[in-house]
Amino acid sequence: MSADLSAAFRDPALADGVVRRIHAAATRPMKIMEVCGTHTMSIAKNGIRGLMPQAITLLSGPGCPVCVTGNADIDLAIEIARQPGVVLATFGDMMKVPGSYSSLAREKADGRDVRVVYSPLDALSIAEREPDREVVFLGVGFETTAPTIAITVQEAARRGLGNFSVLSLHKTVPIALEALVNDPSVEIDGFILPGHVSVVIGTRPYEPLASRYGVPGVITGFEPLDILQGILMLAEQLRDGRAAIEVAYTRAVSPEGNPHAIAAIADVFEPADAEWRGIGVIPGTGLSIRTRYAAFDAAKRFPVQPPEPRQPKGCQCGDVLRGAVLPYDCKLFGTGCTPEHPIGPCMVSSEGSCAAYYRYTDHGRG
């Protein structure tokens, strides 16, 4: 064990102590799910699964925004990109994600005007510089990203831009976790909660997980030692029969979150139903653009009809995202599906579970 620790951890002695305490606290079977793609990567990369006692199972959840985006939504974005005069701008992560019949990368290769931007504000600048083009920003992400899109829409309104709109595929995390807890096919005893999402929304939205469903959660940073610390806090709560939302990341997270970010989200968006890959539609977990900003809503401006969506054959990405199976349970994993030739989105995004397992572990089995 210590060989692993010294390779991955800056303070092996400290990590060793935390690992010992986790072993001591694991007095019963505990299924712990991490719901942040960065945690997924860090757990895989640092071999944290191998440090766990038999009693603790670590599951990866729906924490990769690109992965949970449904095929129908990707098809819709592609259909909009095909409209005359449209510039579709989005984050680089979205390009290679397969929809039912194509991907944005393939559309770009076929001559559509699809551009990768670092910030939604870059898309706004394109709209200002190219007034003859219809610039559509494809907005994907959780609460960390949602306020950036909200403020961009407010800016577009303030600057009176008539050729800018947003296709909002945003999703919000806390209610989705409640849906997972209610899913009879998945057993989850505790959540490792995402650090930077929580910087924005604070701890309050997670409270019902603990108070209504008795499932504890710990907001955790992404350093390996932070994650071990989070697992320890969860194991101790479960051992003691407690359920609370705790913060192992006090350096950055306050209970209230960032009030300016929360206000911007509330001004521009209202809760809507959203389709999560593998989970289905979860009421109230999407963010649609409010009527007062309807002029900036690409879903309203481009009433296109993409063909019926279909799922790639044999891909179990949806089950992986619910924590129902592990990536190497998929028959295609590592054979028909690799990061070079991904079949499903869980293998495309670097923070997707399949990609993380493939890249950092002995194909997940080690």
Binding site: G92, T145, V197
Partner: protein, 86 residues
Amino acid sequence: MCLGIPARIVGEPNENGMAQVEILGVTRWVSTHMVPDAKVGDHVLVHAGFALEVISEQFALETLELLREAGIVEDEASALEAEPTP
């Protein structure tokens, strides 16, 4: 994708609420709409071109080092260059 990257504010915000920051060795404009009280010299967590929150210098340095160890810095640095238009 939900990560914030530490940066240091190096200039006053302009009339659009945009301020220059130093981030991963690159100078870039970011929005300060979510951190209206931030001052030149403050460290902030930046995501998708927006400062999300003011953080302490120590937290900024720690986070940067961790991102570097995790190999995430390269991904983000190349994303910073992704701005497509001249």
